[in-house]
Symmetry: D2
Subunit: 319 residues, 4 copies
C-alpha cells in the first residue's frame, strides 16, 4: 500500500476537516501518500485533486466545512459514472479510498467497492441519521449551534412573553430537534417520527403561561410540519403572540465542538489503520464510545430510529 485518496461528499459537516487531518497524519505515519480529491465524487470524475502532506492539514482541525470541498454529483449515480470513477482511481494508482459523508456518500462508496476499490467510509452528517453509528461527525456541533441560537431567542421570548417556534434541520430524523430540545430545556419538541396534536400543544402553552412561565420554545424538526402554517396555527389557537425563527444553514457551519473533533479524529485515525491492516469495504462508526466498523451494505441498511426513552425523558423534563 502506497497511496490513498480521501474525499468529502454531500452536505458539509463540522469535523470533516478534523477527520481529513487525522487521515493524512496517520497515513504519513505509515509512509503512505495521500491525495485529497476535490469536491467529492465530482472532483474524482474530473481528476481534480492535490497531494496532501502534514503541513496541508495544519490549523484545519478547528475549521468548519471541508477544505477539499464537497459537492453533489448526479453523474455518480449512474453505472457509467461509477466505472469512470473506478478507472480514474486506477489511473491514480490509489490503493484505498476514504469517503466522508452521509448516506449518499456511503452508497457511492459501496458502488466503488463493488468494482474492486478498497473503500472505507466515515459518517459525516449533521443530522445523526445513520443507523450503524451512535453519532455522526457534525451532529454535536449542530446541536450546540442550535443551543446558542435558542439561548438568544429565549431572551426575547422572556422579555415579551412570546412563544417561539424554532425550525431546525432533520427531514426524516428528529435527532437534532430532540437532543437540542433536551439541552436547551425547550418546552416542546416536534419530530417527524412522532405525530403531534396541535390542540394539546396550545393547551400546554396556555397552561404554562397561566402558571407564570414567561417563555415558551418549540423546537420543530424540518420534516415534521410546515413551519409557517404551524406557527400561524399555534398563534391562532393559543391567542399568544408566536414568532418563527428558521435556523437554517447556520447549523452546517462553525468550528467543531470538542466532541466532534474527538470523534472525527478517532474515526479518521481508525480508517487508515483499517486500510493498513487490509480491511476494506466497511464504514467506520462509534458504538458505545468504541470505534466499530460494519460492511458498507449493512451500514446502509441499518435503520436509524428515534430514541424513545430520550423522547419520553424530554417530555417529563419540559413540564
Amino acid at each position: 500500500m502506497k497511496t490513498i485518496g480521501v474525499l468529502t461528499s454531500g452536505g458539509d459537516a463540522p469535523g470533516m476537516n478534523a477527520a481529513i487531518r487525522a487521515v493524512v497524519r496517520t497515513a504519513m505515519h505509515h509512509n503512505l501518500e495521500v491525495y485529497g480529491i476535490h469536491r467529492g465524487y465530482r472532483g474524482l470524475l474530473e481528476k481534480d485533486y492535490e497531494v496532501l502532506n502534514s503541513r496541508s492539514v495544519s490549523d484545519i482541525l478547528q475549521r468548519g466545512g471541508t477544505f477539499i470541498k464537497s459537492a453533489r454529483c448526479p453523474e455518480f449515480n449512474t453505472e457509467e459514472g461509477v466505472k469512470k470513477g473506478k478507472k480514474i482511481i486506477m489511473d491514480l494508482a490509489l490503493d484505498g479510498l476514504i469517503v466522508i459523508g452521509g448516506d449518499g456518500t456511503i452508497r457511492g462508496g459501496l458502488e466503488l467497492a463493488n468494482e474492486g476499490v478498497n473503500v472505507i467510509a466515515l459518517p459525516g452528517s449533521i443530522d445523526n441519521d445513520m443507523g450503524y453509528t451512535d453519532f455522526t461527525i457534525g451532529f454535536d456541533t449542530a446541536i450546540t449551534t442550535v443551543m446558542h441560537a435558542v439561548s438568544n431567542l429565549r431572551d426575547t421570548s422572556s422579555s415579551h412573553g412570546r412563544v417561539f417556534v424554532v425550525q431546525v434541520m432533520g427531514r426524516d430524523c428528529g435527532d437534532i430537534a430532540l437532543h437540542a430540545g433536551i439541552i436547551c430545556g425547550a418546552e416542546e419538541v416536534i419530530v417527524p417520527e412522532v405525530p403531534f396534536n396541535i390542540e394539546e400543544i396550545t393547551s400546554n402553552i396556555r397552561r404554562a403561561m397561566a402558571r407564570g412561565k414567561s417563555h415558551y420554545i418549540i423546537l420543530l424538526a424540518e420534516g415534521a410540519a410546515d413551519p409557517f402554517l404551524f406557527t400561524e396555527k399555534i398563534q391562532e389557537l393559543s391567542g399568544i403572540n408566536t414568532r418563527l425563527n428558521i435556523i437554517g444553514y447556520l447549523q452546517r457551519g462553525g468550528s467543531p465542538s470538542s466532541f466532534d473533533r474527538m470523534l472525527a479524529t478517532r474515526l479518521g485515525f481508525h480508517a487508515v489503520e483499517l486500510l493498513v491492516q487490509g480491511e476494506q469495504g466497511v464504514a467506520v462508526g462509534i458504538r458505545g464510545n468504541k470505534v466499530i466498523h460494519k460492511n458498507l451494505q449493512q451500514a446502509i441498511e441499518a435503520r436509524d430510529s428515534l430514541d424513545k426513552d430520550l423522547y419520553q425523558m424530554a417530555k417529563i423534563l419540559a413540564v
Copy 2:
C-alpha cells in the same frame, strides 16, 4: 427627589439589563428608591411594577433581554393613554422616570414630559437608527451575532462554492448590514439607503468566482429588498447556486458584548446623575465616546443617515 421609575419599551435589546442595573445602583448611591415598571408603558397603565434594590440587579449585567419585560402599547399613543400614565406616575409619587427603548419609546417619553413628568430617555435598539447618538444599546451585540452567524455560513459557502444571501435586520436603516458587512468581510452589502443594481452584483459574483474565490456573502438589510425574490434573481442571473439565510430574532438576544455593557452602564449611570442634578426632558446618548444629552424633541428629530465614508470603505475592502 425620593423615588424614580424605570421602564423598557418596544423591542428588547441586549444591554437593557445592564442599563437598568446601572440606574438602580446609581439611584441607591443617591438614596433614591427605584420602581421597575413591568412591560413598558403597558405595565405603567396597569400600575404593574416592583421595587428594585441592589440585589434585584445582581447577575443581570450579562443577560440579554430585559428582566422587567417589554411590550408594545398602542393605548399609549392616545392622549387618554398618556394622561392616564401621568396620573399613575403621580399616584406612585415618582419624581422621575427613565425610559429605555427606541424611537417610539422616546416619543412616549416626550408626551409624558409635556404633561410635566421628569423624563430621561436612553436609546435601546439593535438597529442603531437614532440620529442623536452615535450608538444605541444593543447594536454592537447584534452585529456580533451576525458576525458569528456569517462565520458559520462562510464555512458552507466555501465548501460548496455557493453564494449566500444573509438577511439582517434594518427596515429603514442599513447600519447592521453595513457594520456587520465590514467586520465579516462580506463581499456585498445591500442597504435601504442606497439603490442597488442586481446585474452589477451578479457580474461581481461571476468575476470573483472566476478569480477563484470560493465564497460569496451578500448582507441584505431587511428594508432593501424581498429576500426570496432577491436570492432567486441572483441565482438566475449568476448561474451559481445561491442560498438564503434569514438571521431573524437571533439578533435581538444574547449576552451583551463588552461594548454594549459599557455603553449601557455609562448611559444608565448618567441618566440618574442628570435627574439628581435637576435635568429632565432629555435623551442621553453617546457622541464621540462622550456621554451627551439632547432635549427629547431634538432627539426625535435628529436624522439618522448612513455613514457614506464607511459605505465607500466597505466597497473598496470587499474587492
Copy 3:
C-alpha cells in the same frame, strides 16, 4: 417514597445544575418532594436546605457551578459526622438522597448508605477521574474551556515563534491534558501516568521549529511536573523562548457544553427513576452511551486508567 434530598459536594463542575434540574423535574413527575441541601455535607450537618420545585430549577440548565452550593466538609470524614448526618436525614424524613460530586462525595455517600440511608451518587467532576463511568459531568466543558484558551495562546505562539506550556488540571489523572491535547492539536501532551523525557521533548521542538512550524503547544497536567521548573528547563534546553500559562480555575466554570447538559440530564433523570424503582446504594454513570449503575463500593474501587490507545494516537497525530 415521599421526599428526597439532593446535594452537591466537593469542587463544583459545569452540569451540576443541569443534573439538579433533572432530579427535581423527574421527582415532581413522580410526586416526590425535593429538598435541596446547601453546601454539600456541611449544609447537611447544619440542616441548611430549601424546598425545590419546578420553578426553582428554571433557567439553571445553562449555568455553571451549583446553585445549591458546594463545600468541603472534613467533619463528615469522621464517624460522628456521618452519624449526625444520618440523624438529620431521619429528622427531615428523607426517603432518598442523591449526592453529586467526585470520589470524596461518593465515599461520603457510601458511609451514609452503610448507615441505612438510600443513597444514589452521580459523578460530578471536571477531571474524569472516576473509573466506573466513561465520563464525569463537567469534563467535556472543561476540555472545551482549555480548547478555547489554547486557541488564543496559539495566536501568540504563532506570531512570535514561541513555545507555550499550558498547565491544565489533573493531579493523578491525565484525561484533561490528553483529550484537550487531541482536540487542540497540541504538539505535546504530558500526563502523570506516563513518564516523560525532557530531552526528547526539546529535540522534538527544535526539529519542528527547523521544519518551519511556527507554534508549539505543550499541554502539561498538574500532577506531571512543576510547571515553572518544567518551562524553564524547556527554554534552557531548546534555546527557544518558552512561556507558561496556567489555566487554573477557569476550567471549573462556564456554561456546560451540549455533551455535559445531556449527560447530566440523563444521569439525574435515571437517579430518580432508580430510587423510585427501589434501587439504592449505587452510583450512576455512563458506559458506552448507556446509563449504568454500580454499587457504591465497586464504584469507588474502579480504577481509572489512561486510555493508552488514545495516548498513542495523540503522539502520532502531533507529528
Copy 4:
C-alpha cells in the same frame, strides 16, 4: 508612489491581521504594491518579507495574532540599526512604511521618519496605553476575553462562597482592569494609577459576604501589586477562602471582537489614504469615533491617564 511596506512589531494584538488586510486591500485599490515585512523591525533588518496581494489577506480578518509575525528587536534601538533599516527600505524602494504596534513600535517609526522614511503608525496594543488615541487595536478583545474568564470564575466563586483575585495585564495602565471590571461587574478594581488600602478592601469583603453576597471578584492590574502576596493578605485579613487566577497570555490572543475589527479596518484604510495624499510621519488613532492623526513625536508624548470618572462610576456600581 508605487510600493509600500507594512510590519507588526512588539506584542501581538487581536485585530493586527484586520489592519494588515485593510492596508493591503486599500493599497491594491490605489494600485500600490505591498510588501509584508516579517517579524517587525527584526525582519526588516534581515530583509525578510513577502509580496502581499488581495488573496494573501483573504480569511485573516477574523484571526488573532499577526500572520506576518512580530518580534522584539533590540538592535533597532541603536542608531546603527535604524540606519541599516533605512538602507534596506531604500533598497526595497519602499515609498512608505506602515508600522503597527505599541509605544516602542511608534518610537522605531519616528527614528525611521527622522531618517526620511515616510512612516505611518497604527496603535496595536491590548493595553490601551497610548495617550493620543481613545482606543488601541486589541483592547476591546482583551477585555472581552477577561469578561468570559471572570464569568467562569464567578460560577465557582458563587458555588463555594470564595473570593477570587484575577490578575489581568497592565503594568502601568489600569485600563484593562478598569474596563473589564465595569463590564464584568467586579466587586473591586485595583489599578496601578490609584493606591489601594487592603484593610478597606477586606472590610468591604466581610460586609458584602455578611449581606449575603456569594461571590467576590477583585480585578488586579499587573502593575498594582504582587498577585501572590496580595491574595494571601486578602485571605489572611478577611478570613475568607481566597483564590488567585492569572489570566496571562490568553488576553493577547483570540478572534478580534466586532469593535476591534472595525477599528483596525478603519485605521488601516486611513493609513493608506493618508500616504496616498502625501501625509507621513504621523500616527493614526481614534478620538471620539473619528479617525485622527497626530505627528509621531506628539503621539509618543501624549500622556495616557486613567479616566477618573469611569473609575468613580466603577466604585459606585460595585456596591
